[in-house]
Symmetry: C2
Subunit: 622 residues, 2 copies
């Protein structure tokens, strides 16, 4: 490995100052050390490169490395440092213990970088560099998602416009003029309609109408446009208000780009062919007779795949200590599964090999991020995790024990003991999947020895954690996570994972929802509001019954109520709406209001962000 | 040079088949042959690389190559092949005559690739490759423009929202909380307001209000959002319709991304510092008291520059024959200046050196593209063009002589003679700028010897063209433009350019408009409608009187009326509106309805576009 020695100073400087103080190594060197051939690399500048999926063919018969998911307790306003732990642990395993090790993390949304927070992967002496390249544009994947998502939106609305303003004959003529045979994309729609003809002239009048009219019911359109900007004014808009649109206006809205189903798909695909198929399967609306209208019907799924052809390759970057990081995909954690990509994990597992480790981060608390990692991501990929690292802090545990953030630094054994309920339930939950748990306890100056000892004791004895390790990688880099790394190595050597899913594909959608609510969240039951039981039955009739469940709930509590800290019980989970992502292949119940478009505060981060025109360096990212 | 031999077959295959039949050379080889150091290159995959502006410092004292603008007659539905000529001529000069030669061209908008036409730079055996990389995403510059443009839009609207919903004290407190001194970005606004204080606590009540309240008059907002998709439904929208926006809805619209002023700025900047300054100067609205509200006032011009920091570097690609191409910027041709970037031209001129040539393409007909190249781009850069290549076809000339497209293939000396009026006026116009003109006559099978001879005779004798050469680079690659290349070399050796601008900076805005209308368009006069005279006077009062004029008129005629072919006279140009781009620094009069958002036809190009999942190759781009 191309390890590099960090000189950690105190007090720990700002993230960007640490990040910019270290010159990133040429990405080709990082790739070479990681076992990637130059011919498998598509460089983007000198510090990033896309890795071709052909690596997987070359290493098909190689053994996988250990597959480790990094999850957290329910997040608090105090910050627990899950990303920082993922990076710090990678630095420890790679640069200090000389194990082949990859961190697989999500590409951040660009919007929030200029909003509330300044971005960054990790922090302190555990970061991905260069920070600017990580936070801005990446290698264009989110831009590609935006383009594909919005092409589909424009194609759908414009098709409705053309269908409204043209009679049957004109519409069919314009769709097929000068064609001797239907294009392959048209043929897909004909196949779906059961019309097995290739010559546009051979269709009957009735077949022509069925082919040419998607006959979309505008009230059923579920496809929204996206932008990678925090633009609250676009949450609810009316489009098509120009005179030329002939009165075809309608209400819709924009989401932030990473909320697009295209992102959820990118994170789950096996390869380009799988992506092509899934993009075509995206359901955007229903016809007036209730038929599913898909991207394939609209005719632009091929073009969407073309736009996404480079995005399917993960991006190689590096940590401060020169260990390899694969950055790929970053779907929302509530309306989607919140995990980085299957292909990045696969590539990393093959490259890491039998002695190596792949650390993949799960979004939010383990009740969502890790559960979805198991039940959606691993179910899809067939990969089996070997262990989980569960990140906690004494301060956050006290918050879950009822103290306010401002008091979380004070020693408080009662609050800590009460708050441990949160961590313990997460440990129990992960163990239900047959996966051993190592707790990483990120240390703060204000933590007392007694507090750290109490967490350790309860997690081991009441939780059944495989180990609990205090870590200091934020202030010490990989050196501060060496003990955690050693514990992880030991656990994976001595405690084989017995991974199992918590519900079978064949369970009904309601059974799946209820299993999650009782087994993972600790609920007393589920209530189905607003006709959601009928909607679920309808999904099963339409063939989506095999899909897993992707719960859209708050990340702040095991329950649907963000105010319920610790490990609440006795609550009834309200299912307020249910939707389906037919391309990503999951059903997502909504338990409350979920915002898919953040806003900008009165003083956004951009008041600090500028460029030093003499050096070209970015200033003020934090 | 890394020339490669083309084997041209007949009939000429589809563009994408030719493009995909030739493996692009490694871009590092192209760069090396072009005199670019590896350390000056930021590769994007193996076939594209950004070129750092540091080349300019290294070659500061080197002589420039010959600076050639490639322009066209007024475009017709038949297509004249201006891009194809730019590329074919580069292939001839570089691969056949072994001169250092660069083609500098615009990055295409991605939207239309999926709409009416399939994209492509050039055609036949004169193309930029790989075609997919050229047409899709590029190296992310347009995505960066979209991000910067839309960040400013979101920042402006959200600021208005916060100003509406907070009282003076709360607004100021949130803007400055925890700040001991104003951020440098805030300081810029304070400087503009004449408040010379650094401590937020030191401002008087009145100063606090002036600082915190941009006090935007929503009716004056001129900044629109953009997307790189042909999405007609977004032309006119109402935003902010959600309950959370508290009634702050307003009408606005989206343009296609390349219509953003950020694109116009990118094409004109000298360096990052110039870009930072121009982005800050963008005027987005006026306050209720009539003051200019800029991106700097909104506070996000630094962040916009950060988003654009890589976009300022041009992208190196190659022709089918391995000659270097710089792709950079692609502003609209009517509401902006329609020319590729100044920095790309500068870099190419230094790299080409004293024996070399730089071919830069001007958009639309020469009455707009070439005039703006001279009066806006060269005025801004100070660069002096050595010659112009003016592209024409016999068919297009006959169209301008009154025949319909379907009849343009038939021999018709009268129509040709009549249509020559169009070409002759373009020749005369370019000569008014002191620049010698070489006419490139792209040959079609249907052209007769007599027709070609007539064009040649009139262009030389009546037009005063320096030379007229028949070309066949579409079917023969560079070999088909060798004679043109030789003519160009000869002209630049024997006819020194005596470049001059057609109006001085100091002329009034009305004088500038009238000069263009009379001298270039052949108009009898100008009429100012809808209060445009007052608006122009207002622009001069606000300090924009020195800006050049960027006429937003139809590209199909010298006049404002697209139906007036040939060389119309006697018409009065109606100025229907006037606007200003304070960052790009030009005033643009609108002579008619200008669409800044294309639509999708009933059968868009995407019905043919897909990916071959086995090979990863794109199919159906045309």
């Amino acid at each position: 490995m191309t390890a590099r020695k960090l000189h950690c100073v105190r007090p720990v400087p700002a993230d960007i100052d640490i990040a910019q103080s270290i010159d990133a190594q040429p990405i080709a060197s990082i790739a070479e050390a990681a076992g990637i051939l130059l011919s498998e690399l598509n460089p983007y500048g000198s510090t990033r490169a896309k890795v071709k999926l052909s690596v997987l063919r070359r290493l098909e018969s190689s053994p996988n490395g250990k597959y480790i998911v990094v999850a957290g307790m329910n997040p608090t306003p105090l910050g627990e440092g899950k990303s920082t732990t993922t990076i710090g642990l990678a630095q420890a395993l790679g640069a200090h213990l000389h194990r082949p090790c990859f961190a697989c993390i999500r590409q951040p949304s660009q919007g929030p970088t200029f909003g509330i927070k300044g971005g960054a992967a990790g922090g302190g002496y555990s970061q991905v560099i260069p920070m600017e390249d990580f936070n801005l544009h990446g290698t264009g994947d989110i831009h590609a998602i935006t383009a594909a998502n919005n092409l589909l939106a424009a194609a759908l609305d414009t098709r409705i416009f053309h269908e409204r303003t043209q009679d049957d004959a004109a519409l069919y003529r314009r769709l097929t003029s000068e064609l001797e045979t239907f294009t392959p994309i048209m043929q897909k729609r004909l196949d779906k309609l059961g019309i097995h003809k290739t010559d546009p002239k051979a269709l009957s009048e009735e077949e022509r109408v069925r082919f040419a009219r998607l006959d979309v019911d505008p009230d059923t359109i579920s496809w929204r446009r996206v932008t990678d900007v925090n633009d609250r004014l676009l949450r609810d808009v009316e489009i098509g208000m120009g005179k030329a649109e002939k009165g075809m206006s309608r209400r819709t809205g924009f989401d932030i780009a990473v909320a697009s189903e295209v992102m959820a798909i990118l994170a789950l695909v096996d390869d380009l062919a799988d992506m092509r198929q899934r993009l075509g399967a995206i359901q955007v609306a229903k016809s007036k007779t209730g038929a599913s209208v898909t991207a394939e019907d609209v005719g632009c799924a091929g073009a969407m795949t073309v736009l996404m052809k480079d995005a399917v390759e993960p991006t190689l970057m590096q940590t401060l200590e020169g260990t390899p990081v694969l950055v790929h995909a970053g779907p929302f954690g509530h309306i989607a599964h919140g995990n980085s990509s299957v292909v990045a994990d696969r590539i990393a597992l093959k490259l890491a090999g039998v002695d190596g480790f792949v650390l993949t981060e799960a979004g939010f608390g383990a009740d969502m991020g890790c559960e979805k990692f198991f039940d959606i991501k691993c179910r899809t990929s067939g990969l089996k995790p070997d262990a989980a690292v569960l990140v906690a802090t004494v301060r956050a545990l006290k918050f879950h024990g009822g103290v306010e953030p401002k008091d979380a630094a004070k020693e408080n054994a009662d609050a800590l003991r009460a708050g441990m309920s949160n961590l313990l339930r997460h440990i129990h939950n992960i163990r239900k999947f047959g996966v051993p748990v190592v707790v990483a306890l990120n240390q703060f100056n204000t933590d007392t020895e007694a507090e750290l000892a109490l967490v350790k004791e309860l997690a081991l004895q009441e939780g059944g954690a495989a180990d609990v390790v205090v870590t200091n990688h934020w202030s010490k880099g990989g050196a501060g996570a060496v003990e955690l790394a050693q514990a992880l190595i030991h656990v994976t050597q001595t405690m084989p994972s017995n991974f199992r899913l918590i519900y079978p594909d064949s369970a009904s959608l309601k059974e799946k929802i209820e299993t999650l609510c009782r087994e993972i969240y600790g609920a007393a039951g589920v209530e189905y509001l607003n006709g959601t039981e009928e909607k679920l039955a309808d999904f099963e009739r339409m063939g989506y019954g095999d899909f897993p469940i992707c719960m859209a709930k708050t990340q702040y509590s095991f329950s649907h109520d963000p105010e319920l800290r610790g490990a609440p019980t006795g609550f009834i989970v309200p299912v307020r709406d249910v939707r389906v992502s037919c391309g990503a292949r999951f059903v997502f119940p909504l338990l409350g209001e979920i915002s898919t478009m953040p806003g900008l505060p009165t003083r956004p981060a951009y008041y600090n962000i500028d460029i030093d025109c003499d050096t070209g360096k970015v200033v003020g990212l934090s």
